[in-house]
């Protein structure tokens, strides 16, 4: 086990961390699966309105790789196949049965051939939960990855505590990891933090490394860059540790039970806690009546740095392990903000007293809302992105190559290794308020289109 210490990065303290207990929520009447959540696939519908589905039945699949299937997390009747402009598939809604019935699959034999294990996973929809680099899209199942990355901790603000979430599920995580180890010719890199529980530390069939330091230490992007960086022509896969546990559960039981524990967190949550639910459940259902009244709030699928905005009637993304709720803040008008001390505001720069305040009273809660707190400008300050970007990549130069769509430069500067989420902190600290993650996403899509 190596211990890798990161100096660069930034921990942002936001109030409303989920307290370590599971609250009950009302059961949703209908769930909806949104193809757009599965980055990079072109959905082709597999069901009609009125069809009966079981938990684990295919709802739609990828046009290019039909073996890449997206399954229903609940059983019931297909209530709606919603299409938008140019017949784009928007979502598939399933009216759920009161009692969930599961589609039966064969359990996975660890001694089977790689192809058999992979096709069993794909058949049950787990292929769509694995992401690949380059391009940060759903993994292409026909490619052999040189390594698979799993992070046992999440360092983002308001992140769920996997020690709690996966308590008592170590055997399932282990089963999942052992299966993943069969899918790659290389290693499965399993990264822990100093606070990872003993239960989640003792894993076999994987290489364990410890990452110490501020966010983004817990993101796979950083771990890949340190342990086994992606070069041209190489592919690595990554998958969230909760999804690894789901695979483990599936391997031993043969049923697709996608119930996960999701954190509901943020300053606008009255009682931040965890809920057990499945993807596709509406946000309103998950958050229930647990949100501050009288404030216009923003719901986020995922963490506040790299998640996606979702309306209350939207649904939980398969890739979100936290639903963050913050104030929108568009009715706040701060008078001459550029001149005021603004001690309640958080800043990584020394133009605010944040660092001093954090030293003097470590418990201080800063105010956050969704305002960008400035006007968008061209890049002016230099060196500020580097301070929160621990990879061996020059972030500003790479972003500029991405803005100018310079494929050669992108390739040379490490675009194969990055995902938009790696730039979450860069976007946070940027004085010029540049929409960096959007630039990265568009550039990766462009690269994929041009190079594949």
């Amino acid at each position: 086990m190596k211990t890798i210490k990161l100096k660069k990065g930034l921990d942002i303290e936001i109030s409303g961390n989920a307290s370590l207990h599971v609250t009950s929520t009302s059961q949703p009447d209908t769930i909806a699966v949104v193809p757009d959540d599965f980055t990079g696939i072109t959905p082709k519908i597999a069901v009609k309105e009125g069809d009966t589905v079981k938990a684990g039945s295919v709802l739609f699949f990828d046009k290019k790789h039909p073996e890449l299937k997206i399954v229903s997390p609940v059983s019931g009747k297909v209530a709606e196949v919603a299409r938008g402009e140019r017949r784009k598939l928007l979502y598939v809604a399933v009216k759920r049965d009161i009692e969930t019935t599961y589609q039966k699959f064969k359990t996975i034999d660890l001694n089977a051939k790689r192809e058999d294990i992979l096709s069993a996973l794909l058949e049950a929809g787990f292929g769509a939960l694995i992401r690949q680099r380059p391009y940060d899209v759903i993994a292409n199942p026909t490619v052999h990855p040189k390594a698979i990355f799993v992070s046992a901790f999440d360092s983002a603000p308001l992140a769920p505590d996997y020690n709690f979430v996966l308590k008592g599920q170590a055997s399932q995580v282990q089963a999942g990891l052992s299966i993943l180890a069969k899918l790659t010719d290389g290693k499965v890199f399993y990264s822990v933090s100093p606070s990872t529980s003993v239960e989640l530390r003792n894993m076999k069939d994987v290489e364990i490394n410890e990452f110490v330091g501020p966010h983004p230490a817990g993101t796979v992007g950083v771990q890949i860059n340190y342990l086994n960086p992606v070069n041209k022509g190489e592919v690595v896969w990554s998958i969230n540790i909760q999804d690894v546990a789901l695979i483990g559960r599936f391997a031993t039981t043969g049923v697709v039970n996608l119930t996960k524990t999701i954190a509901i967190a943020g300053p606008e949550v009255i009682e931040p806690a965890y809920v057990k639910t499945v993807y596709g459940t509406s946000i309103a259902n998950i958050t229930d009546c647990n949100i501050s009244k009288g404030v216009k709030v923003r719901y986020i699928n995922g963490d506040v740095l790299s998640g996606t905005k979702v309306e209350a009637n939207g649904v939980l993304s398969p890739f979100a392990n936290v639903v963050s709720v913050i104030a929108e803040g568009n009715n706040t008008h701060e008078f001459i903000g550029w001149a005021m001390p603004r001690l309640n505001k958080f800043s990584n720069s020394n133009l605010f007293a944040t660092k001093l305040i954090r030293k003097l009273c470590p418990k201080k809660q800063f105010e956050f809302d969704a305002r960008i707190l400035g006007g968008e400008r061209a890049f002016i300050m230099s060196g500020e992105l580097e301070k929160v970007f621990p990879m061996d990549i020059l972030p500003e130069q790479l972003i500029k190559a991405m803005i100018t769509k310079n494929l050669d430069k992108m390739e040379q500067l490490g675009a194969y290794e990055v995902a938009p989420e790696d730039f979450g902190l860069c976007e946070f600290v940027c004085t010029s308020k540049i929409e960096i993650q959007k630039i990265v996403r568009e550039a990766l899509d462009y690269m994929k289109k041009e190079l594949e």
Partner: protein, 399 residues
């Protein structure tokens, strides 16, 4: 502050598209974001943002320039009354300087911001804060007797041709304030060099007029050294009394308005370093480069007064300290990689001293050194970036 907000809300339709004054939209937008933090929220990507923005950053640079400006004002008055042999108190000295310098500051801002507002309106973007700093720098780097119309012409030239044609703040290759000075220097050399322009001997707003006393000579120390026929590096104040390092460090010498006091400049530098707005690496390496080259000339240089000037004197004379702290660190025109900043700064220091010592035409080399390195900043970055690329390429071949 509610009532201010109400006024703004009421005015907004007038200035929005279709309103009567929509042609002044960018000006209105500039003022309303000046008064209130804009309240638009994140549309994509990170949902929370750092509270820092370019307004606060630029204002901090302006604050850092205030000590140099205040000292410069006083020094203008001090030199004036010294030259005319009038005995006055501290406040009168300062008041004279204020009256002499204020018009330059006003002209610089009015011309520059005027152009900035017009361009923002034409292009339909927000007013950029870059000129807040540029407009403050310009008065500090010109001699006090520069005619106002020349400052207006030079500022307009620099803002349009060194900044706006490239796309505005953040896209310029050259430091805009230095282009203003370079324009003045080359277009109106008589107003920018020689012995006559550094000390105001005439009145300021019909006050304090007087005749220079007999002993008066207005040459700056660097000017004296450049024209000196002897090989001894000695310089004197405007009354011909010999002075040394500490007089120059504190700033009781003639020169461009804000550049004389290294102490006042270092106060500003402290603020910039503490707030991390300017790179301490660049600043330090400019001084290191200057000291290094000064030392080289002291040891092996030609036997002229300026070459024999002890290296530490180079750092406090002329525009060296001001350039190092406020010009070389301009993040847009400087090298942008961390390694690049060390090289960039060092070469500025080296070039400035080379120009001072070896070029017979220009007693001061800081402006030209920085403008020259502005060009090479990108080249230095290119090599730093290239080394990152090579490292990545090697990774594939090792296995």
């Amino acid at each position: 502050m509610k009532f201010l907000k109400n006024i703004l809300d009421k005015l907004e339709p007038t200035f929005s598209e279709g309103g009567k004054l929509s042609k002044l939209h960018s000006v209105f937008d500039g003022f309303s974001t000046f008064l209130f933090v804009p309240n638009h929220t994140a549309k994509s990507g990170a949902h929370i943002h750092d509270a820092v923005d370019s307004k606060r950053t630029m204002i901090t640079v302006v604050l850092a320039l205030v000590p140099a400006l205040l000292f410069g004002m006083w020094n203008v008055g001090y030199q004036h009354f010294l030259a005319t042999g009038q005995l006055v108190n501290f406040w009168e000295q300062f008041a004279f300087g204020l009256l002499a310098v204020l018009p330059i500051l006003v002209v610089s801002y009015v011309v520059g911001l005027g152009i900035e507002f017009i361009v923002a309106q034409i292009k339909g973007h927000e007013i950029q804060e870059g000129f807040l700093v540029t407009g403050f720098l310009i008065p500090l780097i010109v001699p006090v007797d520069t005619p106002l119309w020349m400052i207006a012409v030079a500022t307009a030239f620099a803002v349009i041709f060194a900044k706006e044609v490239f796309g505005g703040t953040g896209y310029n290759i050259f430091n805009v304030a230095l282009i203003t000075r370079a324009f003045l220097f080359f277009a109106y050399p008589t107003a920018m060099s020689g012995d006559e322009v550094w000390v105001r001997t005439r009145d300021a707003f019909w006050w304090g007029a007087g005749e220079p006393v007999n002993a008066f000579s207005g040459a700056t120390p660097l000017g004296q050294l450049a024209t000196s026929n002897e090989s001894v590096a000695a310089f004197h104040n405007i009354m011909g009394e010999p002075i040394g390092f500490w007089d120059a460090f504190l700033g009781f010498i003639p020169g461009s308005i804000g550049e004389t006091s290294t102490l006042a400049i270092l106060l500003g530098a402290a603020l910039l370093i503490v707030t991390n707005v300017a790179s301490w690496k660049t600043m330090l390496s400019v001084f290191l480069g200057g000291a290094f080259m000064g030392f080289i000339f002291n040891t092996w240089g030609p036997d002229s007064a300026i070459a024999n000037l002890p290296w530490y004197n180079h750092l406090v004379l002329g525009g060296f300290a001001f350039g190092a702290v406020f010009m070389a660190t301009d993040p847009v025109t400087s090298a942008r990689t961390e390694t690049g900043k060390w090289i960039y700064g060092f070469l500025i220091g080296v070039m400035a001293i080379i120009i001072r010592v070896l070029n017979p035409g220009y007693p001061e080399g800081m402006m030209l050194a920085i403008l020259l390195m502005n060009i090479f900043g990108c080249l230095i970055d290119y090599f730093v970036v290239q080394s990152n690329i090579t490292k990545r390429l090697k990774r594939t071949t090792i296995k």
